[in-house]
Symmetry: none
Subunit: 225 residues, 2 copies
DNA sequence: GAAATGGTTGAGAATTCGCTGAGCGATTCC
DNA sequence: GGAATCGCTCAGCGAATTCTCAACCATTTC
């Protein structure tokens, strides 16, 4: 299911939207301001961004322009308090894909998101991933190191896919746990380490150099050394 | 494999596209202008039409409108030289299913075509399906493994047909249930497993190697191992 | 250089997942 | 009407997977 990022400075509304979308089966992330939004985009690569127009600091337009400059393909659904035509025009010109005027019914939002995802050309992100001689195809679930293919279990696959979606980017432990395991509690749990171990064993089975590097005290990265 | 018609007035580009798509295993037809395109459509009933926007005489839009008037269900992928927003909008409104801006990488075109074909509701014409020594003819309902033919019940047939329409592609359990049984609830139901069992029994009755592989925690694939 | 912190590893327990055989009701065929 | 076929449910087994735990390294801090 699609990843959706919701951005609004009103925590109440934000929480309501989050729950609605979660209930609909989306993978939901949230942010309360523009900068937070951009870092969430970095971290989770959402397919759809529900973006409030008016926010203190970096507003919706600014966030969107930033995204378009970075050539991010996420679909943007703008939320605006007033129905002013000039806003609408300005918004669409700056690259929003759809519009919703507050107040709106949650069901309306859900319908609009589904409509966006149904648009031609919209593909949930499952393109083959590759970095150096490591590659992974989400469609066939084939994983290979150079010429050698290897098998992964489902958790291992999810983890490697997440890592490879962000090559050369250091991912924090909590970030990975949140994304792959869906939780985040600070418990003394070492599942992640164990699974990194599994992946290394399989990706280096023929004596290849290490691709999953440890960033002590922080997390892990996929990177050639 | 799908029939693809490529239409472009530049013979060089046309030839390049033809080869790329042939190499990908598509059945390819070509036309250099609008009228030729329409007669190719008549002759070969393509599943996908790659259509240049700008052509002397009958241009892409005209061809497409003609098709839509004739209620042709072919998927149309428009090629356009400029990224102009108004073009994009006009094109989508007149019924194109996807867009590609020139210049593009051949791999991009291939990916887009695959994406179109993967859309829900898109069904290739009833061509015989084959993968390795497994084959299935939707018209005669004949199924065979090498020289040996075998019988399937109607549900079994539907399931195998669906699997074989997406060879090497891992299909998730829910996807299969949705497509073949028409439902999707998360109930603890094991019809699918049972039917996979039936299919395996029949496709491997003479001791042939397994063709329907289990992807634990995900679903199934038709693939040689 | 000892202690503390953080990461790696192996063993195995707990859990989940998929496969199979038995069987039940509905429909079709004889 | 009885037999065969079909689509399906269910329970139990076995195996793959996920996770926990504890011992063991490695690096940093004091």
């Amino acid at each position: 299911m699609a990843n959706v990022l919701v951005v609004d400075d009103d925590p109440k509304l934000l929480n309501m939207l989050r729950r609605t979308l979660l209930y609909e089966g989306f993978h939901v992330f949230a942010a309360t301001n523009g900068n937070e939004a951009l870092s969430e985009v970095q971290a989770h690569r959402p397919d759809v961004i529900v973006l409030d127009w008016m926010m203190p600091g970096k507003d919706g337009i600014a966030v969107m322009q930033h995204l378009r400059d970075a050539n991010d393909k996420a679909l943007v659904l703008m939320l605006t308090a007033k129905d002013a035509v000039e806003n609408r025009v300005e918004g669409l010109e700056s690259g929003a894909d759809d519009y919703l005027v507050k107040p709106f019914a949650p069901a309306e939002l859900v319908a609009r998101i589904h409509a966006l995802l149904r648009r031609p050309g919209v593909e949930l992100k499952d393109e083959p991933l590759a970095y150096a001689d490591l590659s992974l195809d989400p469609v066939t679930r084939e994983t290979r190191r150079g010429e050698r293919t290897f098998e992964l279990t489902s958790k291992e696959f999810d983890l490697l896919r997440y890592l490879m979606r962000h090559p050369r980017q250091v991912l924090r432990r909590e970030q990975i746990l949140e994304e792959v395991w869906g939780y985040d509690f600070g418990g003394d749990d070492n599942v992640l380490e164990v699974y990194i171990g599994y992946l290394r064993k399989k990706t280096e089975a023929a004596g290849e150099p290490r691709m999953i590097q440890t960033m002590r005290g922080v997390g892990y990265v996929v990177r050639e050394e």
